[in-house]
């Protein structure tokens, strides 16, 4: 039932998504591309921007926490680390290179008319649905291999106030960022219409992440809803199977927001719950935001003549990406722009796995394309 609080959540999510999609399209803010270009082409520009976003997010999250605005800290759904985060990050890296974008990049590119990204999106949903089938094996592995039980973040593990670690991390980082700024390394020349320098988008996305954290208790994240979409689709064709899948009964979110008093409860099953109301409007918003952004620039176009090899690769990449986003669990947006700024150990392990995964994805992609790319 759509209560006033859920209606507010929907409107809020839609607005956040619209803004995110609009600016991400203008800046080509592709998180997959950040790692891929650094590893495959030694182009570090966008990784510097990501670093800026992580540092800025760490600062504003800590300011909000010190101001008493983040009673849910660390935020829900995060848990103690496990090798699954590392493995999931690795597989995620492979998938995002093959898919040509991550879970969010795929959305904003699709909004601008990319058929390849639409195919990757379908693959993502299939991958998430596939994970539900292997969860009976993967879930116990995650549970058994979890270490530092009871500690989600490094400050919790060390028994210190997060403020000390934030200062220790952010102060030297700010010196590095300032030096980059003085060397004009925050900006790059661009000849496209309506370009927004990526550092501006990084700041906007960090603020949106904070607003999300303040309003609904969690920063930006959307992958559980990909599983929900898979479950909903499966439910149309085989409801008996869906009701028998253990993963669809998991309740990954079950908290009462201390400020709003709203009970946030939901999981990856096909039900319309809090996760749906938090994440689905963001997904729709990103697609629409990018669509309007492209339309305003007269750049919205749909080209069907795409090499079949790239279409198949994007689908396979999407499946791998979806699978990894659940194995980890969660996506790069959640971990890089939410978990790492609060020093969540899960997120740090995800990043450690993501880098070699991106490298392997690049090698696989080069072999698949095999000097015949673009001629198919």
């Amino acid at each position: 039932m759509l209560t006033s609080s859920t209606l507010l959540m929907v409107i809020f999510g839609l607005l956040v998504g619209l803004i995110a999609g609009f600016v991400m399209y203008r800046s080509d803010y592709c998180l997959a591309g950040m790692f891929r270009n650094a590893i495959m082409f030694r182009n570090m520009f966008m990784l510097r921007i990501l670093f800026l976003q992580i540092v800025f997010t760490a600062v504003i999250f800590e300011i909000a926490r010190q101001s008493g605005l983040l009673p849910l800290y660390p935020f829900p759904i995060l848990s103690a680390p496990s090798p699954a985060n590392l493995i999931g990050g690795f597989v995620f890296g492979v998938g995002m290179v093959l898919a040509g974008g991550c879970v969010v990049g795929t959305l904003y590119k699709m909004g601008a008319g990319s058929i390849i990204s639409l195919v990757a999106f379908i693959g993502l949903i299939c991958g998430c649905g596939l994970y539900a089938e292997i969860h009976p094996w993967w879930g116990p592995f995650v549970k058994a291999s979890t270490f530092f039980k009871g500690s989600i973040t490094i400050p919790q593990l060390l028994g210190i106030d997060p403020l000390g670690l934030v200062i220790l991390f952010c102060l030297p980082s700010m010196v590095v960022l300032w030096n980059w700024h003085r060397q004009d390394k925050w900006e790059r020349p661009a000849e496209v219409k309506g370009y927004i320098q990526p550092w501006k988008t990084a700041i906007i996305l960090a603020l949106l992440g904070l607003f999300s954290y303040l309003a609904v208790g969690v920063p930006l994240g959307i992958t559980t809803t990909y599983v929900k979409l898979a479950a909903m689709l499966e439910n149309v064709f085989s409801p008996s199977h869906v009701s028998s899948v253990q993963y669809f009964k998991v309740m990954s979110l079950d908290v009462v927001h201390p400020f709003t008093g709203v009970t946030l409860k939901g999981g990856p099953g096909p039900e319309i719950d809090s996760i749906w109301f938090i994440q689905f409007p963001v997904i729709v918003g990103i697609i629409l935001g990018s669509y309007f952004s492209a339309l305003q620039l007269k750049e919205f176009t749909v080209y069907y003549k795409v090499p079949i090899k790239q279409v198949v690769t994007a689908f396979a990449g999407g499946v791998i990406l979806g699978l990894a986003a659940r194995m980890t669990p969660s996506c790069n947006i959640w971990h890089l722009l939410g978990g790492i700024p609060i020093f969540a150990m899960q997120s740090l392990l995800f990043l450690v796995g993501l880098v070699p995964g991106t490298w392997l994805g690049g090698i696989i992609l080069l072999r698949i394309l095999n000097n015949k790319v673009g001629k198919g």
């Binding site: 399209y25 058929i115 790059r188 394309l369 673009g374």
Partner: protein, 97 residues
Amino acid sequence: MEKSIQELPVLQTITLDVRGQVCPATLLVALENMNTHRSALLGGAAKLHIMTDNREATVTIPGTARAMGYTVAVVHATGYYTIEIWRTTGSDKGGLP
């Protein structure tokens, strides 16, 4: 000062239509063709004419081509961008990095 592309005695235009494709495929196609047609491009006998609707490619392809010593022009067409890559007198780069 660099010559404009219209002033050059270009003999051959190599057209690449990568519309609909995303990165890194677009950049790889451009790199592959810059390598395949290296002699013609370096000698000023050919230019690359790339059609793309991928905004990221309008940053990555020119950046890479300029680093290799080529001259680049990006032009907005209806629904896509064209990237022209050709050779003017200057540095003697031109191979793949």
